[in-house]
Amino acid sequence: MPKGTRSGDNEFVQFRSSFPRFELIYSRHALERMAERGIAQDDIRHVLAKGRVVRSEPHIRGGLAHTVEGRDLDDEPLAVVVAIKSTTRGVVLVVTTFLP
């Protein structure tokens, strides 16, 4: 069971099953971290599609923020924090990325 909160623990797992081609939008903070580390959308998609949700906690802008850990397309460990922003259009906000 991932650390974090309540019933939202599997919200992202359910979401990615329903929207395998989800759209990503990026916070300015996430874009800064991506530029620093040379991480691009395909690495993020790979982690979000195959990684493990290790934490779900309230997001500052409402809803839950999910931390997904996995490996990027260079086989390096990567954690991505996301918040689901539309369950009708399948949109995910990338809040930040970091080395787990």
Partner: protein, 163 residues
């Protein structure tokens, strides 16, 4: 949501691409997105595979990632040692012309359909003359793309290369 007339999507795509009228700002979330970003990535990859200028390491890495392949998976698919692929991607070894053509054709086969706005002439890659580049030139070729809003042609929502 506010559309951005011109946006450098290098950070998002991992490749130097200027997008016209295709990026948007979500002011409420203070966030940036690209319309149909997966199609844009495929269109950029297919377009680069069709330009005969020799691929540099960063371009090869971008093509691999656009196909969603790890280094190991990609090396296995094209039947090369992963260490060789790594040297190609890091500009430590030059790819031969034949290997480059195999990779370009692989990109077209895998991503051609997703890159609906980029015409792919049949039989181009096998007869392509790869244009050599200076060994010190390791900067990917910048491309400019625009989202096609032409609903008459039935190709709205796809990306086309802009001048």
């Amino acid at each position: 949501m506010k559309m951005i007339a011109e946006y450098d999507a290098r950070t998002i795509l991992g490749y130097p691409v200027t997008v016209l009228d295709s990026a948007y700002e979500d002011e409420e979330l203070d966030a940036i997105g690209l319309v149909n970003a997966a199609a844009l990535g495929a269109s950029v990859a297919v377009t680069r595979a069709l330009i005969p200028l020799q691929l540099c390491g960063a371009e090869l890495r971008f093509l691999r990632k656009a196909m969603g392949r790890t280094g190991k998976e990609f090396a296995e698919a094209i039947d090369v040692d992963p260490a060789v692929l790594s040297r190609w991607e890091n500009d430590k070894q030059t790819m031969g012309g034949f290997a480059e053509k195999v990779i370009r054709q692989y990109v077209l086969d895998e991503l051609g359909e997703a890159a609906a706005g980029v015409p792919v002439p049949k039989g181009l890659v096998p007869t392509m003359k790869i244009v050599p580049r200076d060994a010190a030139d390791t900067e990917p070729l910048r491309l400019v793309f625009r989202l096609n809003a032409d609903t008459q042609s039935g190709k709205s929502g796809v990306y086309a290369r802009a001048a």
